[in-house]
Amino acid sequence: MNISLNLNGTATDWEVAPGQTLLQALRASGAFSVKLGCETGDCGSCTVLLDGQPVNSCVVPAARVNGSRVTTLEGLLGDDLMIRLQTELVEQGAVQCGYCIPGMLISLYALLKQGPPIDEETIRHALTGNLCRCTGYVKPVEAARAVAAVLEETS
């Protein structure tokens, strides 16, 4: 089946196989930031934005994104907020193996896009679908709080 979507700002046509997931289609098209961790919708390492909302791409049929806007980390590499988040995560030591990090970044980006007020509680809720086995979430949450604080000041 042929579908059209807006992938990271670019009009894109995909030939999708029956049963193919959005995760598979994205990786096949070179969006390697989208990671496979479980394929059951439980770990969040495959998180992308579908029309601006974070979703687990492993449980979204590729066919369903026909006509939609799909954003992966690759599409946000030039975005100021994303760069701020990445920098803060790196500087706070929140990146260990890094496998969960693209998914976390997408979830945090979606949260911070909503604008203040954002406290630790909302950050922890936003990250609850992103499993990380390395960090215990302390440093990722600290990093997100630091970015939220800057947003608060400048808003």
Partner: protein, 763 residues
Amino acid sequence: MKVVGKNVIKIDAFKLARGEPVFTDDFTRQGMLYAKVLRSPHPHARILNVDAAAALKLDGVVDVIWHRDVKAIPHTRAGQSYPEPSPYDTLILSPKARFIGDRVAVVVAESVAQAIAALDHIVVDYEELPALTDMDQSLTNSEILIHEEPDPRGISEAGMTNIAARIDKQVGDVEAALKECDLVVTRDYHLPRVQASHIEPHISIAWVDEDDRLIVRTSTQVPFHLRRMLARILEIPEARIRVIKPRVGGGFGDKQELVVEDLVGVLALRTGRPVRLEFTREEEFVAARYRHPQRVTMTTGVMKDGTIVANRMYVLADTGAYGSHALTVQGNTGQKVLPMYPVANIHFKMDCVYTNNPISGAFRGYGAPQGCFALECHMDEVARELGMDRLELRKKNHIKLGDTDPLSAKLGEGKEGLVRVVKSTGLEKAIELGCEAIGWGNKREPSAAHLKRGLGMALAMQGSGIAGVDWGGATVKLNDDGSVNLSVGATDIGQGSDTVLAQMCAEELGIPYEKVIILSSDTDLTPFDVGAYASSTTYISGGAVVKAAAEVRGQLAGVLGSHWECEPEDIVFSDGMVTGPGDQSMTIAEVALFALYKAMIQPMATASHMSNDSPPPFAAQFAEVEVDTETGQVHLCRFVSAVDCGTVIHPKMVEGQIEGAVAQGMGYALFEEVLLDRTGRVLTPDFLDYKIASSLDVPEMVTILVPTDEPTGPYGAKAAGEVPIDGPAPAIVNAICDAVGVRMFRIPATAERVWRGLKEETR
């Protein structure tokens, strides 16, 4: 120090945060095939025949292999130094399935979907055999033998019983000593089967290159061991194999094992095409490795004044269908744990049995979390029976500076060990700071009437590498611009070893950290290293880096000494500058140019490092819980870790290690358990049923680093990766007992179990 001890940017962090294609799977090759494993539906069965004719007719299916197609070369899949202290009880594909999920056949096809579809069309003729899935039954039953074949090596009682490994070691005379004690306390502790749950699954891609060499790109902790093991079981020379480790999405011990690499190797050689095999999450739960489930019986003899006189630990453990790491994990349960209280009489005995359950293996802590749980819960039990304060009991008896680890000489890595004396310890300080941070002795009020608060603590120690066994190499090469190529066999699996090693290299050469270009773990390009396990990298591989860098510095000092007409020893390397005793000075880049173009030498050195010591890092960990007396629900409010890992090379990364370990340890204490049915079938094969800590579960964490100066470590460093996972479970369970008076002898302490305990208490 200029670089060591600083929070430099983790060397790979930006590329990871940009989602660059750096993991094993972020890579394809022309004509790649996809493999899938057909797994046994029976816990114990002979595989009489595999009929793949129908599968082979399907679109895209290229090949199907089963045990007839591969030579039977018994081996262990444990990624350990040669000769491995694990039994050679495994074949690539065996004529017998030994657990539900054991390999039966492997399909390769043009796509994953085609490979999966083909699995249903393979017809297998099984002869079912009676199975053993209970470790007590395995211990006594010798009618049913899980490994009865005559050829395996290294099984404790091959062909006679189901015992994979045994240890029975004693110092002093425990039996006699117990008779003299004022009080003897004996308890059983039950430890569950838990899973490492690294988020990146096992994955491996192999191909044969234009020089007819087998290239294996794989998510592993042990690239060099893999090369050796693959050469033997694939029967090709090591020279024809190259193992490349890209970024790894977590390992925690589960990748200290040959889990998928042999299959992609066999299939790439057979088909001549690149072959990829990736585990599904379900396969992770069924066919990767577990922390060994154990029952630990602790007996302690103590005098009225709290002096511990004797400790006995008996461990019964379930290795599952194969015995990788059976001897050494269980050995560690005693060896890494009992020395915390270095009393004159210690008896450690363990039986590790085969069952028809999924396979146990290495998981961060490597036996110590089980032993530490038993011992540290037991200390609270002893204190309670004795009517003594539990902190005082520990303070009175714990190991101190200058003490000899009483078990070290008797118990090494599957053989006699080397005597270990404590040359650095921050344990006293850690206890003091930890107590202060948690508010020991003044419990806060619970937040509601049906809630009760409690505090608990645990002490832990581990090692830094395996004494006399672990070693690693490092090469340092100076370039024209003063940058340095550092290549190491050491394996960065996300813990940050590349960064730590680059810091040490920069420090030793007196250059900025940014000048170090690191390459790690490529068997063609880097020196050897045993790999990332046993908390060895900072201490052991770091030692090699420091030596190699010092040698390069010596070479440069030699060249400049003759040029400047001064003693080489008087030349100082610091801040990217090299200065002589007069007013001579050059930048490191000028020195490099001078060496390369005037003196015409390549400043370069390779060094190896091994240690006959394995200095223990120490941890004192404290939990504050709130228990709901109506539901049994435990809320972990705060957790304090005070850790002595010697000199801290990178504070934030060490904190990160500790915080991650606390999250894993809290899961062990409160909710993680892989459940099996009576046939050994996994009932919890996904993250919905097997819960790991999320951002909402983890407590407020306080992490305190207690630096010491370890005389045998590079810059005084010891290990940090494993010790913090030992204490959380006992500290949490001790806190539960403090809150509601219920002792959880079995973890995880789920709400249901605590609730049951509360009911019994009131009855």
